[in-house]
């Protein structure tokens, strides 16, 4: 940045103070504005509902309200994800003083009926509103366990606000975390994050406070240090980050800025998948608004804190979710990982100290600053604090985006929140962690969802993908599918992943075709263990997980496909040769 004179800095600080006041006023103005509305219609326009036609539903609401002359009494809000994606497009009608009503599978025609049968009578007549059976059928109870068992921190504003309205974000407590942080010393902010017990939500579970402390200790290089937000959600079948960025971009930006203040970072980068146009568009808008209202820039809110942020698009490479590969991609190169150490907090983006945090992690930071570390650490288990967002999909009735306290059991997720299998057939297993995770069989429904327990069972938290499978799904097939994915996505830099993955896949195909033997299963385990220990990055280290965990829990399914499946197992070898690789780093 250009050096400024003391006088110029003072001027900027004065401007910053005014901008802060203006922001607070913006929130007040918003509250004043919505006071006059007698009702609100919240319509979900996140990716899933949008794909289902939510945009034309919104138009239908607006048009029919205008036709009845109620447009100034009813606020139509285009919101972020409401969660129950399988029932989309969703719309929630909130009449002042009455219980909210949620409608599913809303079409433009239905929207007109909602206005004429529900909204108009509610505002123009006294007493009970009687809607037709046509509408009644599409009502979704808000008392479903899907809604009541959730605890929302990250998703609290999604589905309840207009993500493009900065005033609404401020009115809901937005940027207060940042304002509070800026009145403290950076070490005090670090302390709060450490005390909260917040851990990385991208899968690894590394304590966020510790990571930030490492960055804080690294000196500036050429006057720079960076924050990166990892929005390269590559797990196929998971879309948490997409919705958080699309419905709460300001919250993610705020989290990053609090981190930057605590660590002394000078600028930040959002790395977002190009496949998420809505997330990109909303983040671009958030940055534009933040620049315009003095949230980003120099002498923010009249302090000495300067920060800028920019966006970089991913380009379809799963490996770029790995932090060293991601940095390489932000630099505009091929996304190949490199060995650690040096850790990114020492030598990261453009060889300068960098902290990389997941989207959901950052979205937790603002609320922690506002409410305090104890408020956060009260939720969850002994070692996994707070909540976790999951995208529960596959063969489950209530497929969608949910946020639950850490420690919620698999059974509660699948049976209560998920409402059981969509087919009505017996539940078989759930896969967490996507292609890097493993299966949790029906026998483990009591297992609490937290970092340690999931690791113990041979899966991982991952970023929050959760695929439910019923008895019709072949575990061998699903393991082969995931392995095929990681083999496709292997960057090819290190041999264990490039060659090991490929060979393993050939053996898996052989088994799936009914031509495999027990010797092939042993070989797969051997290769898998070698990959786990010797691969350069997380992609290769975790690629064997789906295969190894299905072999562990669904051995019978593999045996049924093997030529010699009925014969007794060979005695287990004490130490597989490949395990002798020295893993000291």
């Amino acid at each position: 940045m250009v050096e400024l004179s003391q006088e110029q800095i003072e001027k900027l600080k004065a401007l910053g103070r005014t901008q802060k006041e203006n922001l607070i006023k913006m929130g007040e103005d918003f509250k004043e504005k919505v006071k006059n509305f007698k009702a609100s219609i919240y319509t979900c326009n996140a990716t899933s509902c949008h794909s289902g036609g939510a945009a034309s539903v919104l138009d239908a609401f607006r048009e029919s309200l205008a036709a009845t002359g109620l447009e100034s009494d009813v606020r139509v809000v285009c919101t972020g994800c409401m969660g129950l994606c399988a029932s989309g497009p969703l719309a929630r009608v909130e009449i002042k003083g009455k219980k909210p009503v949620l409608y599913q599978h809303v079409t433009p025609d239905m929207a007109r009926v909602i206005v004429s049968e529900h909204v108009v009578p509610a505002l123009k007549t006294e007493g009970e509103i009687k809607t037709s059976d046509y509408l009644k059928k599409q009502e979704l109870s808000l008392d479903l366990p899907f809604f009541t068992k959730q605890r929302k921190i990250v998703l609290r504003l999604l589905g309840h606000s207009d993500p493009e309205d900065l005033g609404e974000y401020i009115a809901n407590g937005g940027y207060q975390g940042l304002m509070k942080a800026l009145t403290m010393k950076p070490e005090e902010v670090l302390d709060i994050i450490k005390k909260s017990g917040l851990r990385g939500r991208g899968g690894g579970g590394f304590p966020t406070g510790t990571k930030w402390e490492m960055l804080a200790k690294s000196p500036l290089v050429d006057g720079e240090k960076f924050m990166i937000c990892n929005g390269d959600e590559g797990d196929p079948g998971a879309y948490m980050d997409s919705c958080i960025l699309g419905g709460g971009s300001h919250a993610v930006l705020e989290g990053m800025m609090i981190g930057a203040y605590a660590t002394g970072a000078t600028s930040g980068w959002f790395y977002i998948r190009a496949e998420y146009p809505l997330a990109i568009q909303r983040m671009e808008l958030a940055i534009k608004q933040a620049k315009r209202y003095g949230i980003l820039g120099r002498n923010i809110f009249g302090t000495d804190f300067n920060f800028m942020a920019d966006i970089r698009y991913g380009a379809g490479a799963f490996v770029c979710g790995e932090e060293t590969a991601l940095m390489s991609s932000v630099e505009g190169k091929r996304g190949t990982p490199r060995p650690r150490p040096p850790f990114p907090t020492q030598k990261g983006l453009f060889q300068k100290p960098t902290a990389i945090n997941n989207v959901e992690t950052l979205a937790n930071v603002g609320p922690i600053m506002v409410n305090g570390p104890e408020w956060f650490s009260e939720v969850g288990t002994a070692t996994s604090k707070g909540t976790k967002v999951f995208a529960i999909t596959g063969k489950v009735k209530h497929s969608g985006l949910v946020e639950v306290p850490m420690g919620t059991t698999v059974g509660e997720m699948v049976n209560d929140i998920g409402g059981g299998t969509s087919s009505g057939k017996p539940f078989k297993a759930v896969q967490t962690g996507g292609p890097s995770g493993g299966v949790i069989p029906a026998s483990e429904l009591h297992m609490p969802l937290c970092y340690e327990e999931l690791k113990k069972i041979g899966s991982m938290m991952g970023s929050g993908g959760m695929i439910v499978m019923d008895q019709d799904d072949s575990m061998v097939e699903i393991a082969k599918f995931y392995l095929g994915f990681t083999v496709d996505e292997s960057c090819g830099k290190c041999a264990p992943c490039r060659i090991g993955g490929y060979q393993m896949l050939q053996l898996m195909k052989k088994i799936a075709d009914g031509k495999g033997t027990k010797a092939d299963v042993a070989k797969i385990k051997e290769i898998g263990n070698a990959m786990k220990k010797a691969s350069l990055c997380g992609l290769g280290q975790t690629a064997p997980n789906p295969v190894l965990s299905t072999m562990k829990f669904f051995k019978n399914e593999y045996d049924a496909l093997l030529i010699d499946g009925n014969e007794p197992d060979a005695p287990a070898e004490k130490e597989v040769k490949a395990c002798n690789i020295n893993t000291k780093k």
Binding site: S51, Y239, E275, R312, G316, G394
Partner: protein
């Protein structure tokens, strides 16, 4: 063709103005080029090399590393079929096969008439609608193999109307 080359290179040069001064902007520049042309033409690459002072070999290595970038022009109608996990277990594979059969070309290729291009994608973020197919930005949810001929026919008609 010579005129095309001049036009492409001129357009590319204009797009690069804002990226020239920013570090690490190669991928962003390539995104913008593909956004404009539907793929990254060789003629553009030459200009990128010149303007951003990056060797052609490096540009090519980046383009071929990432799935998103295309080196040849795709068909006018791009059919993206999701094979993410949620779509896969709900029958995504059979949907892919149905489209391949309907159009007579394997995924990743363009039909001979240059009209349709089939690509397999990994998760479009609307798993609630699985299996999902997106055609030129229009989303079809809960697609079955039987829908493939209907969707193709719909787009044939649309394109015929537009005089393509």
């Amino acid at each position: 063709m010579a005129d095309d080359k001049v036009k492409i290179q001129e357009d590319t040069r204009k797009m690069l103005v804002k990226w020239k001064t920013k570090r690490g902007s190669l991928i962003m520049a390539l995104h913008e080029i593909q956004g404009a042309f539907g793929y990254v033409p060789w003629d553009s690459m030459e200009v990128v090399a010149e303007e951003l002072k990056i060797p052609m070999a490096q540009i090519y290595s980046v383009l071929t590393f990432y799935n998103h970038f295309k080196l040849t022009a795709p068909g006018k109608v791009v059919i993206s079929i999701c094979d993410g996990t949620a779509c896969h277990i709900k029958g995504g594979q059979s949907v892919i096969e149905a489209f391949e059969k309907e159009l007579g070309v394997p995924a990743g290729t363009t039909t001979e008439d240059g009209l349709f291009y089939i690509q397999i994608v990994r998760c479009l973020g609307c798993c609630g609608l699985a299996p999902v197919v997106v055609v030129n930005g229009k989303t079809y949810g809960r697609v079955t193999p039987l829908d493939a001929p209907k969707i193709v026919a719909e787009w044939r008609e649309t394109m015929a109307k537009e005089g393509a």
